[in-house]
């Protein structure tokens, strides 16, 4: 399946949605810092993998789908739930990359410069996440899904 990038989708983002994302993202980063200050690095580190974008993103994706269907004269409630569910399945696959990013930081930070670690860990996150996504979309898994339930959580969009 081809991955598409629709720049026109930016126009559909409402001003309050930009503000929600910015404020929520900033607040989570401050919260992670405060947790680290109050309870130490071990507990503070957990919040580096806090689902920061995901809850707001899933709600906005659901709202966008509902609005999109409503414009065509349909009730998009069900469609909104399903698309948000697909987005969540993608986030779960992305977590493999997130764990890889953290592992590289853990192993390399004491031996390399921070910039070099980021330059290594960020592409690793992307490659790992894409790899899991591609595997999930591949024919091998599609055949397995046919034998199982048709409403699997990782059903492709």
């Amino acid at each position: 399946m081809m991955v598409q990038c629709k720049f026109s989708a930016i126009k559909g983002i409402l001003p309050h949605e930009w503000i929600t994302r910015f404020v929520f993202g900033g607040a989570v980063c401050v919260f992670a810092g405060l947790m680290s200050k109050w309870f130490g690095a071990e507990i503070g580190g957990l919040f580096l993998a806090f689902p920061a974008i995901f809850p707001a993103g899933a709600c906005l994706v659901e709202a966008h789908e509902r609005r999109h269907k409503a414009r065509a004269g349909f009730d998009g409630t069900q469609r909104g739930h399903i698309v948000a569910g697909i987005d969540a399945a993608g986030a779960a696959m992305g977590c493999v990359g997130l764990a890889g990013f953290a592992l590289i930081c853990r192993v390399c930070l004491p031996h390399m410069s921070a910039l070099a670690v980021f330059a290594l860990a960020t592409p690793a996150w992307f490659v790992l996440s894409m790899g899991v996504w591609w595997l999930r979309k591949s024919r091998v898994f599609r055949r397995r899904r046919k034998r199982g339930s048709s409403t699997h959580a990782f059903r492709p969009s």
């Binding site: 399946m1 900033g26 993998a49 994706v61 399903i82 399945a89 992305g94 997130l98 996150w125």
Partner: protein, 115 residues
Amino acid sequence: MTEYILRFLIGGAVVSLFAVLAEMLRPKSFAGLFSAAPSIALATIGITIARHGVSYAAIESRSMIFGAVGFFVYATACSWLLMRKRVRALTATAALLPVWLGVSFGLLWAWSLQR
């Protein structure tokens, strides 16, 4: 105080950037990958290194692995709830946040017991 203002501004910008990327990309399962981007880590690890040193950031990174496993369980549960039970996204994502907390802290606790 300056550290927290910096965290807020950089964090807000990085999270917004990844959110916009997720908005532009299709199919949605691929865009979902960006919902689990290391946005908080990218925004704050640099500040942590400058303030507390590399070894402190390395300890945070180890805990981040447990947080990522918690996120995986949380996102999978959200996906199941949204697709099978057809609940609202806000309800599912808010109600299941204790799953992330439970799994992350549980793994950290199990790790600390082993040492």
